[in-house]
C-alpha cells in the first residue's frame, strides 16, 4: 500500500503507523463525562467503506495525517495533515458552526 504524505510524497505503508478512526473527539476539560470518554476511547463505527483515519508518518516527517480510505478496496481518496484538520475543526467549533469534520 502506498500513502501520499502531503510533505514527503508517496511512501510505502510500512513507514507509517496506524491509530484508527479520526472521528472520535476527545472530550477535553474537567467537565467531560466518563460516559463520553468511554465512547471516545472504545467505540468505533468500523465501516466497510470510506473511513477517515489517523496515520503517523513515523519513519518520515512525523506528521499525523488524516487519510480517507476505503476499507473494502484500500483505495485512498485524500491525505491531509492532521494538524490542519484539527485546527479547522476547532475553528469550526469555536465559531459555533455545525461540525462536519
Amino acid at each position: 500500500m502506498r500513502i501520499r504524505c502531503p510533505f514527503c510524497g508517496e511512501r510505502d505503508n510500512g513507514e507509517f503507523s496506524y491509530l484508527g478512526d479520526a472521528a472520535p473527539r476527545r472530550p477535553d476539560g474537567l467537565d467531560a463525562s466518563a460516559a463520553a470518554m468511554h465512547d471516545y476511547v472504545y467505540l468505533r463505527d468500523n465501516p466497510a467503506g470510506t473511513l477517515r483515519e489517523l496515520w503517523y508518518h513515523a519513519a518520515g516527517c512525523r506528521s499525523w495525517l488524516v487519510v480517507i480510505r476505503d476499507t473494502r478496496t484500500h483505495a485512498i481518496e485524500s491525505v491531509e495533515p492532521a494538524r490542519d484538520v484539527a485546527r479547522a475543526r476547532r475553528a469550526a467549533t469555536l465559531t459555533g458552526r455545525a461540525d462536519h469534520a
Partner: protein, 998 residues
C-alpha cells in the same frame, strides 16, 4: 538417429533450436551422468536424453513425467542441488541447465522406478477425496502416535535443506511509468511502443530468454522468424535509456496502489553465485501503469491415464521441438480439440519425428490437414477422443474411441494434448478482482481490472500472433499516454495466417482408468464427482475437500478442468460455478528472497551506547534491550559468576561511586509558548509549580487510565523543558506527544525535538558521586549540596567548555547525578569519569546492578509498568493531580480500577533468608489449594540484595500495603519452586530517603 548426438542425446534433433550446441553441459539426474546444452532447461535436457520418468505423484505415487515447458508444471519436480543448497520441488521446466547441475527425483523410495508407496495407487479406491475425514478416529489415542506420523511421512514432496542457507539475498526498489509483465509478442510490443515515447519502462519476464511463445513456434513476423523479431525487439529496448529488462524475473504479486512484487533469479543458472552476488533479488516495483502480457496456459484433456509420462501439452511439445531441438518421442500422437493440435502435428513432422495419430474431438477436420497427417502415415480420427493410455513407467499406447464409439489401441510413445488455452488471469485477480467467462473462447478473461492496469495479447484472450502484436502495441501506447508521453502504436508487422478455433472437451465421456484433473495432488474426475455427491459444490469447498488446485502449481493446469466438471454435474454452467480466488505469489518464491539482508545478526538493527567501546574493552557482558545492546555487568578477574559481579557493582555504588550508561532513555526537548499547558495535559502529576532549574518525576497515562510510562521532566528555561522516557517506550512516547500536539491540541505553541541521540547520558551514583563529578564539571559550576540540591538541574560545561546538562536525579537511591554530554564526547566523558573516580574506588555498573538497586528502592519499571497497571496499583496514586484535566484522568476511575481488592505494589522477603525468589511466581495464601481463585497476585521483579544479604522481590498483591508482615507462598510450579515470603514495604533501602539529599 541423426546429428551425432545419438549416443548421448537420442531425442535431440539434428539441428535447429535456440540452444548452443557448441556448449555442452554435463549434469546428473539421480546420480546418472547426462549431457545437454547451454540454453536447455533441465526438462529439455532430460527429454533429449530420453528420460521421461521424472517424479512420483503426491498421494498415489504414480510415475510422472514432464507435462509442460513452463512455470505451470505440476509433475516434473525435482530436488535441485544438494546439502545446504538443496531446493525441493524445483520445476525441471524452469531450471536452467548449468555445468554440474545435480538433480534428484523426490517422493519415492527406494528408487524412482521401483517405489514402494506406489502400492497407494492400488488402494486409490479407498483413498478417495476426503477419506481421512471419515476414518482414523478410533482409538483416539492413536492419532498422534500412529496415524498422523504415517500420513506426515508419506506427505510432502521433496526434502528441504537441512542447514542454514549459505547464499545471500538482495532487495531493491524500482519505479517506472509503465510496467510490462511478460516478454512475449504482446509484452515486447507494449514495451517498444511505451519505451519509444520516452516513458520509463520495466519489462519483466520469468524466462531466461525473452520472446515468450515466439521462441517456441515456427512463426513469421514481417518476413523474419519470430525469434529473430524478438531478438531485434530486445536489442532496441536495450538501446533505450529509460527501458530496463529484467529477465529470469517473475512478477509474483500485485499489491495496493501500483505496488508489485517480483523476484529475480540472479544466480540460479549458476552452480553457485559469483562472489558478492546474491542468489536472488526481490524487487518492489512501483508503477503508474501496468500492461499484463503474461500469456496463456494450455489446458490438458481429462481422460484415463492422462498422467502417464509421455503425455504432454501440445504447446510444450512445440517448445521442445522448436526452441530446444528435442523430439518428445519416436512416434507421437496428437489429441486435439483445437487447431493448435494440428500445428503440433506439423511441427513434429517438420522436425523429422514420427506421427502415429491425430485424434480431433471435432467432427470435421480440414482436408488439407488430414492429408498432411495421413501422408506421414498417421491415423486420423475425427469426432473421437482418447479414453485411456497404456504403458509401465511411460506411455506405450493410447486407447482411442472414435465417433462411432468403437475403440482402438494405437501404439505411440508421446501424446500431445491441445484443449485450448487459459489466459493468465492470476495477476489481475490479486486485488480481489474476479475474471469473467468469455464464451467465445471458452475461457476466463480479465474482468474489471484495477485502475492503471490493462491486459494485452493472450493474457487478454487475444490468441493470434497478429492480435498479440496489435493489442500489445496499443496497450503500451495507452499506458505511456496516460503517463503524459506521446505514444502512438505503429502498425503491426504482418504475420503468417493462423487459426485458433477450438471447442474444448472438458472430459472424456468414458475414461478408461483414473482421469486426472490435478496431477500433482492426484485429484481425479471421480473425486470431483464425490465432492458433488457429498455437497461440496461451491468451488471453494470443492477445492478444500479434494485439494484440487492446492499443489505447488496452484492449479494452473487443473482449476478449469475441475470446475468445468462441477459445472456439468450441477447443471449450472461454468460462469456461475466461478473460480477460486487467485492469490499471490504467481509461482512459489523463496522465503530467503523476501527476507533479504535481514537475517542472523542483521535481522534487526543493533544500537550501541556511547560507552560501548570502553565496555567491550572492559569485560562487559551485554544484554539485548529492544534494539539496544546495553552493558549488563562488567566482570572482573576472580569473579566466578554474574551474581558476584553484580553484587560487587551494587556494593561499590552504595559505598563509594559507580558509573552507568543510561543513554538508552528517550530524551525529548520541549519548547514553546504553551509548553507548560502541554506538559500539564500530558502528565498525570502537577508541573505548574516546577521552577526553572528543577526536575520532577513524571507519570504519563494512556487515555484508558493505565500507566504508559514514567520518567523525569526538567525545566531548563522559562519555556524549555526536557523529558526522559524509558528505554522501551521512547519511540512510543514521542509519537504520543506528537499526537497530542498535532491532533488533540493544535492550538498550543509547542516544539518537540528528540535529543535521544544527541546526548550521551550517564548516571554517576554513590556517596562519592559529587567528589567524582567535581573533577569533571568545569570550574565555575558549583555542584555543592546547597547550590545544587536534590532534583536540581542545570546547563554546565565539562572538559574545558564542552556543553553538558547536569541533573541531580537518582534511580539507585544514592546521592546521584545524571550527566549528559554531546554523544561524540560520550566515549571521552566516560573515560574521564572513570579516571576521575579512581581515587574513590569507582566502578562501572550495568543494567543488572541498576535493576537490583531500583528493586531495593521499590521503583516500578518495565515488569510493573506493563500496560496492565494503574498509577494506584504502583503506589503512585497519591501524586496524581486533582485539579487539572490530563490524559487518562477519567478512565482510571472506572470501578474495577479503583477496586480495593486489586493487586497493588508491595515488597517481599523470603522467610528462609537463603531462599531464592523468582519473578513470575504467583502469590497464594499459606494454606490455600493452588487454583485461579486462590491467586492473589504475582511477583514482578526480584533481585539478590547485597544490602540485605537476601533475595528480595517486589510484586502486585491484593491489598498489599495493608498486609505488611503477613506470610504468603510464592508459587512457581513451572520452575518447581514454592517459597514462603513475607509481605513488606517495597522500599528496602533507605526508606526515609536520607541518602539522596546529602
Amino acid at each position: 538417429m541423426g546429428g551425432g548426438f545419438g549416443d548421448t542425446q537420442p531425442f535431440r534433433t539434428a539441428a535447429g533450436g535456440l540452444i548452443d550446441r557448441n556448449r555442452p553441459r554435463d549434469f546428473t539426474f539421480d546420480g546418472r551422468r547426462l549431457t545437454g546444452f547451454h540454453g536447455d532447461t533441465l526438462a529439455s535436457a532430460l527429454l533429449a536424453n530420453g528420460v521421461r520418468l521424472v517424479g512420483r505423484s503426491f498421494k498415489y505415487h504414480r510415475p510422472r513425467g514432464i507435462l509442460s515447458a513452463g512455470s505451470e508444471e505440476p509433475n516434473a519436480l525435482v530436488e535441485l542441488r544438494s546439502g545446504a543448497r538443496r531446493e525441493p520441488n524445483t520445476r525441471a521446466t524452469m531450471a536452467e541447465l548449468y555445468e554440474g547441475l545435480e538433480a534428484t527425483s523426490q517422493n519415492r523410495w527406494p528408487s524412482l522406478a521401483v517405489d514402494a508407496l506406489s502400492v497407494n495407487a492400488l488402494l486409490s479406491p479407498v483413498f478417495a477425496a476426503g477419506f481421512y475425514y471419515k476414518t482414523f478416529m478410533w482409538p483416539a489415542s492413536l492419532w498422534e502416535r500412529l496415524y498422523e506420523p504415517m500420513i506426515r511421512r508419506a506427505a510432502g514432496l521433496g526434502r528441504a535443506a537441512d542447514a542454514p542457507d549459505p547464499d545471500t539475498y538482495d532487495r531493491a526498489h524500482a519505479h517506472c511509468d509503465v510496467l510490462v509483465i511478460g516478454g512475449g509478442p504482446a509484452g515486447l510490443s507494449a514495451a517498444l511502443t511505451a519505451g519509444r515515447s520516452g516513458a520509463r519502462v520495466i519489462l519483466v519476464d520469468e524466462d531466461f530468454a525473452t520472446g515468450g511463445r515466439l521462441l517456441a513456434e515456427r512463426r513469421e513476423i514481417g518476413g523474419a522468424s519470430g525469434s529473430e523479431w524478438a531478438a531485434r525487439a530486445v536489442a532496441e529496448l536495450e538501446s533505450l535509456p529509460e527501458v530496463r529488462i529484467l529477465t529470469r524475473t517473475t512478477l509474483f504479486g500485485v499489491y495496493d496502489h501500483g505496488a508489485y512484487g517480483a523476484v529475480e533469479r540472479v544466480s540460479d543458472h549458476l552452480a553457485v553465485p559469483a562472489a558478492h552476488a546474491p542468489r536472488q533479488r526481490l524487487w518492489r516495483i512501483v508503477a503508474r501503469r501496468a500492461v499484463l502480457a503474461a500469456g496463456a496456459i494450455e489446458r490438458p484433456h481429462v481422460f484415463g491415464g492422462n498422467d502417464r509420462p509421455g503425455v504432454m501439452l501440445a504447446g510444450a511439445v512445440r517448445t521442445y521441438l522448436n526452441r530446444y531441438g528435442v523430439r518428445p518421442g519416436h512416434r507421437s500422437a496428437v489429441f486435439t480439440s483445437s487447431d493448435d493440435g494440428w500445428r503440433t502435428a506439423a511441427d513434429i513432422l517438420a522436425a523429422g519425428g514420427g506421427l502415429a495419430a491425430v485424434i480431433d474431438t471435432r467432427p470435421s477436420v480440414p482436408p488439407a490437414l488430414r492429408r498432411m497427417a495421413e501422408a506421414a502415415g498417421a491415423r486420423v480420427v475425427a469426432g473421437g477422443y482418447v479414453a485411456g493410455t497404456k504403458g509401465h513407467l511411460g506411455l506405450s499406447a493410447i486407447q482411442v474411441v472414435d465417433g462411432y464409439h468403437s475403440t482402438e489401441t494405437i501404439p505411440c510413445d508421446g501424446l500431445a494434448m491441445a484443449n485450448g488455452w487459459n489466459p493468465v488471469v492470476h495477476l489481475d485477480s490479486h486485488l480481489s478482482r474476479r475474471p469473467v467467462w468469455d464464451e467465445a473462447i471458452h475461457a476466463f478473461v480479465p474482468g474489471t481490472l484495477p485502475s492503471g492496469m490493462q491486459a494485452a495479447g493472450a493474457a487478454a484472450g487475444r490468441f493470434t500472433l497478429a492480435d498479440c502484436l496489435e493489442t500489445g502495441a496499443r496497450a503500451g501506447a495507452e499506458a505511456a499516454s496516460e503517463c503524459g508521453f506521446t505514444a502512438t502504436p505503429e502498425a503491426a508487422a504482418k504475420t503468417d495466417p493462423e487459426s485458433v478455433d477450438h471447442t474444448p472437451l472438458w472430459r472424456a465421456p468414458k475414461p478408461r482408468g483414473k482421469a486426472f484433473v490435478d496431477f500433482q495432488n492426484d485429484v481425479a474426475a471421480s473425486d470431483v464427482e464425490l465432492a458433488h455427491r457429498e455437497g461440496f459444490r461451491a468451488v471453494e469447498l470443492l477445492k478444500r475437500y479434494t485439494t484440487l488446485g492446492m499443489a505447488t502449481d496452484q492449479g494452473k493446469t487443473s482449476n478449469l478442468a475441475g470446475l468445468s466438471i462441477m459445472a456439468e454435474l450441477t447443471g449450472k454452467g461454468i460462469p456461475s460455478v466461478g473460480t477460486t480466488v487467485f492469490r499471490p505469489p504467481f509461482t512459489p518464491v523463496a522465503i530467503g528472497a523476501f527476507a533479504g539482508h535481514h537475517r542472523g545478526k542483521d535481522f534487526r538493527a543493533t544500537r550501541h551506547v556511547p560507552s560501548h567501546a570502553w565496555a567491550e574493552e572492559n569485560g562487559c557482558v551485554f544484554v539485548e534491550t529492544g534494539l539496544w545492546l546495553r552493558p549488563a555487568y562488567f566482570s572482573r578477574a576472580g569473579e566466578t559468576d554474574w551474581l558476584d559481579t553484580v553484587v560487587r557493582e551494587v556494593e561499590t555504588v552504595r559505598a563509594r561511586v559507580g558509573l552507568c550508561d543510561v543513554t538508552t532513555l528517550g530524551k525529548i526537548d520541549i519548547q514553546g509558548r504553551d509548553v507548560l499547558t502541554f506538559i500539564e495535559r500530558v502528565c498525570a502529576n502537577p508541573f505548574a509549580t516546577l521552577p526553572v532549574g528543577k526536575a520532577r518525576y513524571a507519570v504519563l497515562l494512556r487515555e484508558d487510565g493505565f500507566v504508559m510510562d514514567d520518567g523525569t521532566i526538567a525545566r531548563l528555561g522559562e519555556t524549555h523543558y526536557v523529558m526522559t522516557a524509558s528505554t522501551a517506550n521512547a519511540g512510543r512516547v514521542m509519537q504520543h506527544l506528537e499526537f497530542c500536539r498535532q491532533w488533540l491540541w493544535p492550538e498550543l505553541d509547542v516544539q518537540l525535538a528528540s535529543v535521544s541521540e544527541q546526548w550521551a547520558h550517564y548516571a554517576v551514583a554513590g556517596p562519592r558521586a559529587r567528589d567524582t563529578l567535581r573533577r569533571i564539571v568545569d570550574p565555575g559550576f558549583d555542584i555543592s549540596n546547597e547550590a545544587f540540591p536534590f532534583l536540581a538541574c542545570a546547563e554546565v560545561t565539562v572538559g574545558g567548555g564542552i556543553p553538558a546538562r547536569l541533573f541531580r536525579i537518582s534511580f539507585s537511591g544514592e546521592l546521584a547525578y545524571e550527566l549528559a554530554v554531546p554523544a561524540a564526547y560520550g566515549d571521552a566523558a566516560w573515560r574521564a569519569i572513570m579516571q576521575a573516580g579512581l581515587p574513590y574506588g569507582i566502578t562501572a555498573y550495568g543494567s543488572e546492578a541498576l535493576s537490583v538497586m531500583r528493586i531495593e528502592k521499590g521503583h516500578a519499571a518495565g515488569p510493573e509498568i506493563n500496560g496492565q497497571t494503574t498509577a494506584r496499583d504502583l503506589g503512585l496514586g497519591g501524586m496524581l493531580a486533582k485539579k487539572k484535566d490530563y490524559i487518562g484522568r477519567l478512565m482510571k476511575e472506572r470501578p474495577a480500577l479503583v477496586d480495593p481488592d486489586r493487586p497493588v505494589l508491595a515488597g517481599f522477603r523470603p522467610v528462609d533468608p537463603s531462599a531464592r525468589l523468582r519473578a513470575g511466581a504467583h502469590f497464594l495464601g499459606r494454606d490455600a489449594e493452588p487454583s485461579l481463585e486462590a491467586d492473589e497476585g504475582v511477583m514482578t521483579s526480584v533481585a539478590y540484595s547485597p544490602s540485605l544479604k537476601t533475595w528480595i522481590g517486589i510484586g502486585l498483591i491484593r491489598r498489599g500495603p495493608e498486609r505488611h508482615g503477613e506470610r504468603v507462598r510464592a508459587y512457581d510450579p513451572v520452575r518447581g519452586a514454592e517459597i514462603e515470603v513475607e509481605i513488606c514495604s517495597a522500599v528496602f533501602v533507605d526508606p526515609r530517603e536520607e541518602k539522596l539529599r546529602v
